[in-house]
Symmetry: C3
């Protein structure tokens, strides 16, 4: 290699690393952003596949472990009733911290229900996501949510999520 080629090699390698970092974030943001559309369309298999096979989803109403339980939640009479009457799982934008092959993300979500001809916010939730790079791509290993009703864990989920840290013990 000439000196010129050596420099170009360094610049190429740096570009590749920087681009891979953007691609990781993009993939995670897009993965989590589909949650609401999959939930409100009853797309049980695709929604469950946001998680790893043994991923955890604790939304403060029920706690599920593994894709089968998440799939079953979407197929449940309760969830299907929401869809039939009208429901928006309205998720805010996701803030992501990637660290090698794991990542942490945080978001707010609103569950908006159509009832008696009107739309009301049924609950506002703080969500802390943990993710892992897998052979299938990035997948969630845990989503822990707490309703923002004064529950003391909810602010801790938001704080640790925003700072890219693991959630506090009671939630992990």
């Amino acid at each position: 290699m000439t000196l010129q080629e050596t420099t170009m090699e360094d610049r190429l390698a740096l570009l590749e690393r920087r681009l891979a970092s953007l691609e990781d974030e993009r993939e995670i943001v897009q993965l989590l952003t589909t949650y609401g559309a999959l939930a409100d369309s009853g797309s049980s298999a695709e929604l469950a596949a946001i998680w790893t096979e043994d991923g955890v989803y604790d939304n403060d109403v029920i706690s599920m472990t593994g894709r089968d339980q998440i799939f079953a939640m979407v197929e449940s009479a309760a969830h299907q009733g929401y869809i039939a009457r009208g429901c928006a799982h309205f998720n805010g934008p996701v803030s992501v911290h990637v660290d090698g092959d794991t990542a942490v993300a945080v978001s707010h979500s609103l569950m908006v229900l159509h009832e008696d001809g009107a739309f009301r916010i049924n609950r506002a939730t703080a969500n802390h996501w943990q993710l892992r790079r897998t052979e299938e791509g990035w997948r969630a290993t845990a989503r822990v949510g707490r309703i923002l009703d004064g529950n003391e864990l909810a602010p801790l989920l938001l704080r640790t999520g925003a700072l890219g840290q693991l959630p506090p013990d009671p939630a992990s």
Copy 2:
């Protein structure tokens, strides 16, 4: 070319393709993300320019074809009244699938109205977007929305949008 140059050529070409893919998504996300701000500021020309000249916008209340009709909706007494009394076209984050020179995106939106000194959700809507790369940049060829009030098309718009598919026939 030396062997070293050949390898660098391959790596450069791959970087260019990957970067172009990120740039496409970024442009589409930014295009659609301005919708709410343009709607609530009565920016009729700029809002209409999100679409192609013959773009379709069916929001479940009215169906418009072409920029002139979209422009006229923003200028209408009804829309201007929303702005005067206070209104937030609150759009959720967009999930995008790009396939060459076309793309599909999906998002939830809330129309929040200020009435009698309070803010209420007037409607929650499922939105399926189709886009095309044009000489002006990415533009929407169709946005089909259905209110999440139990309307059976709404979940289908969310599902097809989240999977990067065209919307179901009744909406296309």
Copy 3:
């Protein structure tokens, strides 16, 4: 340099510029997206650090100048009361225009309060952000918000923000 190397040099330089542009936007979007999680977790120091040392935050209820005043707002009895009773500073996705070392962004936000066992939208706000590239990274120099209650400045903030322009005089 050979001709081949000259061409590669040009392509590398262009890739570096395009990637830097995406990285700027990504950093700004992620910076502003953490606002809600930091607000609802009472993370006063981290929230204040979204701004420059002398940054301005006018949210239509109070106007603050400098990180100390923003910190004090988060620590105030009023804000701590929101957290204790349950509150979601629910921010929509951010649309960003970067111009060299400054940037403009726009977003809607909802303040959702938990009161009497229900969640209600306390206010919907139009937000115009100005940012500057600093030694610490991108920081906000000004956030001006106006409640979307018919206030005539609110649409102007949305319009100028969506077009990447400075806010109108009364707000600057």
